[in-house]
């Protein structure tokens, strides 16, 4: 199983995959951090005893 | 925190938060530069020749058109009256607001310029020169644009009118900005001469802009 020789333009190929990788990791990190921050703020508010109307019992549409 | 620092932080927060419109200028800049080849045609040599001019005109329009909210927002909710009653002179308030607007709108233009220069098929020295002149020149556009924004603050739809009023005033900045860029590319002509004149224009427009805009705001209070 020969290692693929990427030829003279190897740099461009690796650069292309690097761009893809950086972009995907960037989006994943952004989503995870955003989600974590939102959960923290939600927990803070709910800790102060603020509940959505009947948030547990009946299913409500998107508030 | 000192008054002017607090004002800068406030303006920065307002423009970078949701609904602030910080990147609107850069987006408009991207669209204007992208549309040109559709009209002119994808001939790379032609685009390379007119590239710096297109980038400069795009930055000029993007700055002027994003300036109408500079004073209008504060006037609509009464903050402008309170700013005028502060012990800080109104001229300095105008300068700080312009710097904050430039940081939020002007700087993204300069950052976007190299990418758009690729669309214009500019080679590295031309890209470097364009970015340098834009970095130095765009504050002048903001200071001059502030005069238009102050003059039309009491009008309902003053945005376009302020651009029309101020466009003639910005022609020197445009001329020296583009000529400095082309000078950097063509060997014989010196780059420094038009560049330094551009810097002088920026300082001049800072002073004139601050005083004229502050006076316009005082006159428009009712």
């Amino acid at each position: 199983m020969m290692l693929p020789s990427l030829g003279p333009h190897a740099g461009f190929i690796l650069a292309a995959y690097a761009v893809f990788l950086v972009a995907v990791i960037g989006v994943v990190v952004w989503i995870v951090l955003d989600g974590r921050q939102l959960s923290r703020q939600l927990a803070e508010l709910e800790a102060r005893g603020i509940r959505r109307r009947g948030s547990d019992k009946k299913p409500d549409a998107v508030p | 925190m000192k008054p002017l620092a607090a004002l800068f932080l406030r303006e920065w927060r307002l423009s970078t938060r949701v609904g602030g419109g910080a990147l609107m200028g850069a987006l408009f800049f991207l669209i204007v530069v992208t549309v040109i080849p559709f009209g002119v045609g994808p001939d790379l040599k032609l685009l390379a020749r007119i590239g710096p001019a297109i980038l400069w005109i795009g930055a000029l329009l993007a700055t002027l058109l994003s300036l109408d909210r500079l004073f209008q927002a504060d006037r609509d909710d009464g903050a402008l009256d309170l700013l005028m009653m502060g012990e800080t002179p109104l001229e300095l308030v105008v300068v700080v607001k312009c710097l904050a607007h430039w940081a939020a709108t002007g700087l993204p233009l300069v950052i976007a310029a190299p990418f758009l220069a690729v669309f214009m098929n500019l080679d590295p020295p031309a890209i470097g020169a364009t970015v340098a002149t834009l970095l130095v020149g765009t504050p002048a556009l903001t200071f001059l644009g502030a005069i238009g924004a102050a003059l039309t603050v009491s009008l309902r739809r003053g945005g376009l009118l302020s651009a029309i009023l101020i466009l003639p005033l910005t022609t020197p900045v445009l001329i020296f900005g583009v000529s400095a860029t082309t000078a950097a590319v063509t060997e014989p002509t010196p780059f420094l001469a038009p560049f330094l004149i551009l810097v002088a224009l920026v300082l001049f427009s800072l002073v004139v802009g601050a005083i004229a805009a502050a006076q316009a705001l005082r006159l428009s209070a009712n």
């Binding site: 199983m1 693929p4 020789s5 990427l6 030829g7 003279p8 333009h9 190897a10 461009f12 190929i13 650069a15 292309a16 995959y17 761009v19 893809f20 972009a23 995907v24 960037g26 989006v27 994943v28 989503i31 995870v32 955003d34 989600g35 939102l38 959960s39 703020q41 939600l42 508010l45 709910e46 102060r48 603020i50 509940r51 959505r52 299913p59 409500d60 549409a61 998107v62 508030p63 | 949701v18 609904g19 602030g20 419109g21 990147l23 609107m24 987006l27 991207l30 669209i31 992208t34 080849p37 559709f38 045609g41 994808p42 001939d43 790379l44 690729v118 669309f119 098929n121």
Partner: protein, 255 residues
């Protein structure tokens, strides 16, 4: 599970929570298989040599940039026509992801173009229409930024998305026409119709992998958007909650 059943955000959050780990695993496996096929099994192109490997990322991203816009158009129909409560959540979540994939498509296209055409950017018909699509994505994100109330704002964005979707084929056609008008004929045709089977299956696998990746990111982004709306509701409730006994004024308020 009927689609309408997912309308309930709480149940949707649960559904996403269970599905995402599996989807991530599938995505990783598909990428591994696809890229293995691309790098080790597929032969180099007789003209371009190894640079054709970029195709295995560039083409899936190009496909995704259109697929994401299609899902946004479908979601905008969901908002305007069927009033599905999660439709505008998915629309708002998809815009940034679509923009990122379109940008990657442009970047990889430019990186692919440099060794072959000698310049970073060529006003090739396909790249140009993807560029216009990229600007449309940024426009949608900008419109979302200016909206205070997500429920009311969603209608406006839905209309713009639909108008965009209708115009896409027209843009594609006019850019092609504009391109042939100016462009000298000898543009290397990328990936001609008859693509060798040994290069085709890795391409399909990476495309599928990219689609799974998008679905995973989309579900997570929708989860965030639902949390953002709940946060907004809780804040509204907190503001309207009657405050306890107002504090007595502090003497010497302004001396």
């Amino acid at each position: 599970m009927p689609l309408i059943d997912l309308a309930n955000p709480t149940r949707f959050l649960g559904f996403v929570g269970r599905l995402v780990p599996w989807l991530t695993a599938v995505t990783i496996v598909l990428f591994a298989v696809g890229l293995y096929g691309a790098f080790f099994l597929a032969p180099d192109d007789y003209q371009q040599g190894a640079t054709v490997k970029i195709m295995f990322i560039h083409v899936p991203c190009a496909w995704l940039s259109m697929f994401v816009y299609a899902t946004m158009a479908a979601s905008s129909l969901g908002t305007l026509v069927w009033r599905h409560p999660l439709a505008d959540v998915s629309m708002k979540a998809a815009a940034p992801i679509g923009a990122v994939f379109t940008f990657v498509c442009l970047a990889t296209g430019s990186l692919w173009g440099k060794p072959m055409w000698g310049t970073w950017w060529v006003w090739d018909a396909r790249l140009t229409s993807v560029l216009v699509l990229f600007i449309m994505y940024l426009g949608l994100i900008a419109l979302w930024q200016t909206i205070e109330d997500p429920i009311r704002g969603a209608k406006a964005v839905a209309v713009l998305t639909l108008v965009g979707a209708i115009n896409l084929p027209i843009i594609k056609f006019s850019v092609d026409w504009w391109n042939t008008l100016h462009q000298p004929a000898a543009v290397f045709r990328l990936g001609g119709p008859t693509i060798d089977i040994s290069m085709l299956w890795p391409l399909l696998v990476t495309a599928l992998a990219a689609t799974c990746l998008f679905v995973t990111l989309q579900l997570l982004a929708m989860k965030n958007e639902i949390k953002r709306r709940r946060l907004r509701t809780l804040r509204l409730i907190e503001a309207s909650r009657p405050h306890a006994v107002a504090g007595t004024p502090v003497v010497g308020a302004a001396s």
